[in-house]
């Protein structure tokens, strides 16, 4: 009878269904492949948005280093694709054919050891999932066991992002440096640049994103999810209820890292390159903003928030390039000041009363009176899992 059971009831499912319809049916039927590919790129950022709903919105842990995981996933995928694009025939003008072009430019004559396993797609896929998880685990254990939290965690993850981007840029013989890993062509002989491939990748990406959305909602509906919410509010209470808080935070951090990495890998596939500009601080913070715009508590909201900001970015930077940053800055400030719960919060405030009235009228039974609505609203505004 607990209303927890209702959390994942058919209602929430419907939200996901609507999202799926928009991503898998609406967009493809309305937009051509160019715009669709663009949306596909935005949706890869939405993975990060969803991961932040879990970690930040519900867990209260603000990571400013999600770009690190996005980048790790993206780089793993890019390494595989680059090796395939660097077969000895395609690279015969190089001093050492068969290695990526940027290595050749940096006088590297043999493929570095850590690149070798990325010749296998299976290994690559495993690496996309495991490497970020492992990295997040190490950071998580080190930080959360020492009870580094809040602002400090945010700043330290930011520093981690900085370190990694300095390392990638500095080791250009191994990583492609600031240009990143570019000119990716095929995956097991399948040309990822063709229109048909772009369609397929779009759907794969959409399906994976919906998978992450469903997964995140499931996590939030479990006791684990409740505890995340609980420890955001009263960390000590959770600790003194017998839970090792650090483990919970670490697991949430790892889950969010894996989601970001999937997004990064899909980014590489759809855009055709990966560069250190995703690992740094700026993209990491921007992705937090997408989430805030959508509503930090709302998984579906985060996806829409990401789309909204990026659509707006595309529109304004095409039409009013000068105004764009003013607008972006103003959006951030407005979201934080006026709509801390983002789009989802706006819905709660303006959309739902309307919906509730409609619902009440539709049922038009004497029981559905105003007090009921009031209680329902109060309950709603507290347990925002939508």
């Amino acid at each position: 009878m607990s209303h927890l059971t209702k959390k994942l009831g058919k209602a929430d499912l419907l939200g996901v269904v609507v999202l799926s319809a928009v991503i898998l049916v609406l967009f493809p039927s309305v937009f051509g492949i160019f715009r669709l590919n663009l949306i596909g790129k935005y949706l890869t950022y939405a993975f990060v948005g969803v991961s932040l709903v879990l970690l930040w919105g519900n867990g209260g842990i603000l990571s400013l280093g999600q770009g690190v995981f996005f980048g790790l996933g993206g780089y793993c995928m890019a390494m595989f694709l680059k090796l395939e694009a660097s077969d000895p025939i395609a690279t015969k003008i190089q001093t050492t054919p068969g290695i990526p072009d940027f290595m050749d430019w940096n006088q590297i004559v043999k493929l570095p050891l850590f690149w070798l396993p990325f010749k296998s797609l299976t290994f690559t896929i495993i690496a996309i999932l495991v490497v970020p998880a492992l990295f997040a685990f190490l950071i998580g254990v080190a930080m959360f066991k020492r009870r580094v939290g809040g602002v400090y965690f945010a700043i330290i993850t930011q520093a981690v992002a900085l370190i990694l981007s300095v390392l990638i840029v500095g080791q250009q013989g191994l990583t492609g440096g600031i240009n990143g890993i570019t000119d990716l062509k095929t995956m097991h002989g399948w040309d990822i640049r063709s229109d048909s491939a772009k369609y397929i990748l779009y759907y794969v990406n959409g399906a994976l994103l919906i998978g992450c959305v469903v997964f995140t909602r499931w996590v939030l509906s479990t006791k684990f999810g409740m505890l995340l919410l609980a420890l955001r509010e009263k960390e000590d209470r959770v600790r003194f209820s017998g839970y090792d808080v650090a483990n919970f935070k670490t697991l949430a951090f790892c889950m969010s890292a894996v989601m970001c990495a999937i997004g990064g890998a899909m980014f590489t596939l759809q855009v055709g390159f990966m560069s250190p500009s995703f690992v740094g601080i700026t993209p990491s913070i921007e992705m937090v903003i997408y989430t805030a715009v959508g509503g930090r508590m709302s998984v579906v909201g985060a996806v829409f928030g990401t789309l909204l900001v990026n659509f707006a970015k595309t529109f304004f930077s095409e039409e009013y390039p000068d105004l764009w940053l003013f607008l972006m800055g103003a959006t951030f400030i407005a979201v934080v000041l006026l709509f801390p719960d983002g789009l989802a919060g706006l819905y709660d405030r303006y959309g739902k009363p309307f919906v509730l009235r409609r619902a009440a009228r539709a049922h038009s039974k004497p029981k559905a009176t105003e007090p009921n609505v009031a209680v329902a609203t109060a309950l709603e505004s507290g347990g925002k899992h939508g």
């Binding site: 209702k6 840029v169 640049r193 789309l307 529109f315 819905y347």
Partner: protein, 464 residues
Amino acid sequence: MQLLFIDRSRALRGAFSTVLCVTSLWAAFAGAGCNKSSASTSSDPAASKTDKAAPASTERSTEATSTDVMTPPGVEKSTLKAADYPTAKVMTTGLKVDDDSVTVGILHSTTGTMAISETGSVQAEKLAIAQINALGGILGRQIKVIQEDGASDWPTFAEKARKLLVNDKVAAVMGCWTSASRKAVLPVFEKENGLLYYPTFYEGLEQSKNVFYTGQEATQQILASLDWVHKEKGAKSFYLIGSDYIWPRTSMKIARKHIENVLHGTVVGEEFAPLGNTQFGSIINKIKLKKPDVIFAAVVGGSNVAWFKQLNAAGVTSANQTLLTISVTEDEVLGIGGENLTGFFSSMKYFQSLDNANNKAFVEAFKKMWGPKSVIGDVTQAAYLGPWIWRAAVEKAGSFDVDKVVAASPDIEIKIAPEGYVKVHANHHLWSKARIGKAKADGQFEVVHESDLIEPNPFPKGYQ
């Protein structure tokens, strides 16, 4: 009962926010395309889009139309008539060409960290296009411009490049500044068979059917200047310092090979500072320790300013040290301050102070269009060449089709080039001269050496 309502509200909430979002965004997103097409059909060619999208430069004249632009001396108004070149004949690949106009793209950063550098290129490209239009356009057609902002972000460059080629079907793109942005758009241009004119001096190691490189590749910029400093200053020992990314690293690699194998000198130190580094105290001390004959520098961006200011402050000036840089144009001097550079040498193919008729006319036209305080650096001049080279190739080919333009390009000569004279090489780079400028306190350079025309060689044997 009550729970039922919660359920319904949750259910509808997703739907509601979806509809809200999607409808509001639709206008924005799809509308971007619509507006664009309306903009590009407006009658006033270079000005319509130019005005709106031009980076805010307070000195810029606001009404830069095709009629009041100064054209280069000695170039007659084109007598080609569009009627003699029916659209069906000159364009067979679906590009945006009609009987009166042809559309090109400009793709640079007007926002973000790179806006600092790319502003000049945008201005030069717009000047060249306005001049070409004033001279009767290209195959009798006026050039229209769609400008996109790469926002200093490489994926955005790729996105916008794809938009220009796929959506807008532009006949050519003038754009990119950093190597990273070029690398990001390169696959797009190759896939969509577009045409890119890239203005920046760069590291070489690239040659694409779809790109023309109007700046120097590394050997053109480096070898002659090293030869000069070796001969003139008797330099034997060199200290190499650059920012930590591909262009300085490749340049330094070429420099080291040349110093060691050709000049039989020594490299006494090599240092790469992270991009954005603001502290050079320790590096400067290391240099002082080694006492090199020449410091050979390729630091960029905000770091470049810090590097020269701190160098001056550490007592290293032209009075006691020879310094040769490949990363300081007149644009950079604005940020560094002439007083910190006086007497140091810069190797470029173009300086604003070049004393020839072409350049005088160019500088005058540029200042007329963009304001009397405008400063013109090497890349700005190279960007100016792009539209002219494209025009010459199109008219030689008698077609806008990319394949035909590319085929017609080798050996195209631009005699009105501000730098004097350039010729397109079969490898898509330009034959050009290397020049050494000595920095003056007023921010200009005194040209102290000029080489012969140098053949571009993006994959130099023996330097890799």
